[in-house]
Symmetry: C2
Subunit: 220 residues, 2 copies
């Protein structure tokens, strides 16, 4: 136990949080409530009154943090996207080549299971928060393309030119989106992805990406 | 010139269309107007009055054909999906293997260029006409999986088990959707897909799908 913690216990008085800390907590509570409401009811039904009620703050407090409901929605998906990237990064370890890709897709499906509201927030955003959707896709695809570039620089994808990696990143992002739509739900909630679907995905990725020959090398 | 056509010209009097034919023409005009309105303004702004004005029919006439605006929207995407499948089929010829896949993606991108409203109708449907979206995706993915099965039965994809072809169909559908989103627009309208993007796509598909080894065969 840390010295600070001990002192807190001895005096039996919680440390007073700073104004900035409390403000950030409220902001996070509003994000969390908005995510739950959009996940459950969609953007159209996620009103400010529902969001503030869920976050247990006064309705007027909302405007200390966001200009409007749309302003919150425009920040919601990019914020969740950051969380998703951190989640996936934490699962990558030192893996390289196709194993890295396998960890990535498994982590993505696990993220959906842990944050079931993410899927609806993402797909409704294309229509109802297009600015956020564009920002999210750019950030995620950019990160993916950079990760593939590091793999490419290790010589793991000899068949590709560097600028093609962005095309690959979009194809893989697209695939995981559609595969979760088709196979990742039991009822309305994300469930475990069937193992044979991951295997079929990995077959395509392994041969398509990592086994592709360098131009000029002998075809097999 | 056919005998009928000649007769029409001789009498200089157009053949009187049957009631059923006129009814079908009105129906098609409403579909066409709805497609244009949704493509331009989105489902939310595509009101019955806008649609009937564009189709040049009285507003009340609408209800002879559709129960509601939502009923029209629910039929719109599947109808366009049929049109898309016919368009792509007409371009396939006798091609087999990866060449068939290349024709398919080129035909898809050309369809988007010729029917620029399709993209918005499709992506907004996931949120605003979910029943139509589900029906469309099932129809398109089912058709794609059957086409891949015929290819598989010709022995073109020795590395795959039959049930994995549906996973592949979803991956390829997803890829063309995301690639059109990223590379297929100049400004707001679909434009020509850059040639190098199609080449990168085909590299992935050729190696991932057609060059994949049968289980048990020697790795290269």
């Amino acid at each position: 136990m840390s010295a600070t913690k001990e002192k807190e216990q001895q005096t039996d008085k919680p440390r007073r949080r700073s104004r900035a800390e409390r403000s950030e907590e409220t902001r996070q509570a509003l994000f969390q409530a908005a995510a739950e409401m959009v996940g459950e009811y969609g953007y159209a039904e996620a009103s400010i009154s529902r969001i503030t009620a869920r976050a247990k703050v006064a309705q007027g407090t909302f405007y200390n943090y966001f200009d409007s409901r749309q302003d919150l929605f425009d920040q919601l998906l990019p914020a969740l996207g950051e969380k998703m990237l951190a989640y996936i990064r934490s699962r990558m370890g030192e893996a390289t080549g196709p194993e890295r890709e396998e960890r990535r897709i498994r982590a993505y499906f696990d993220f959906l299971r842990d944050y079931p509201e993410f899927y609806r927030i993402l797909y409704e955003a294309e229509t109802l928060a297009p600015k956020a959707h564009r920002q999210h896709i750019d950030a995620i695809a950019g990160g993916y393309a950079r990760a593939l570039s590091r793999s490419w620089e290790r010589g793991e994808m000899p068949g590709y030119e560097k600028r093609e990696l962005e095309v690959v990143a979009f194809m893989l992002l697209a695939a995981r989106g559609y595969l979760s739509m088709r196979y990742g739900f039991s009822g309305d909630r994300p469930g475990a992805m069937p193992e044979w679907v991951i295997e079929a995905y990995m077959k395509f990725v392994r041969h398509g990406l990592y086994d592709a020959q360098a131009p000029g090398s002998k075809p097999t």
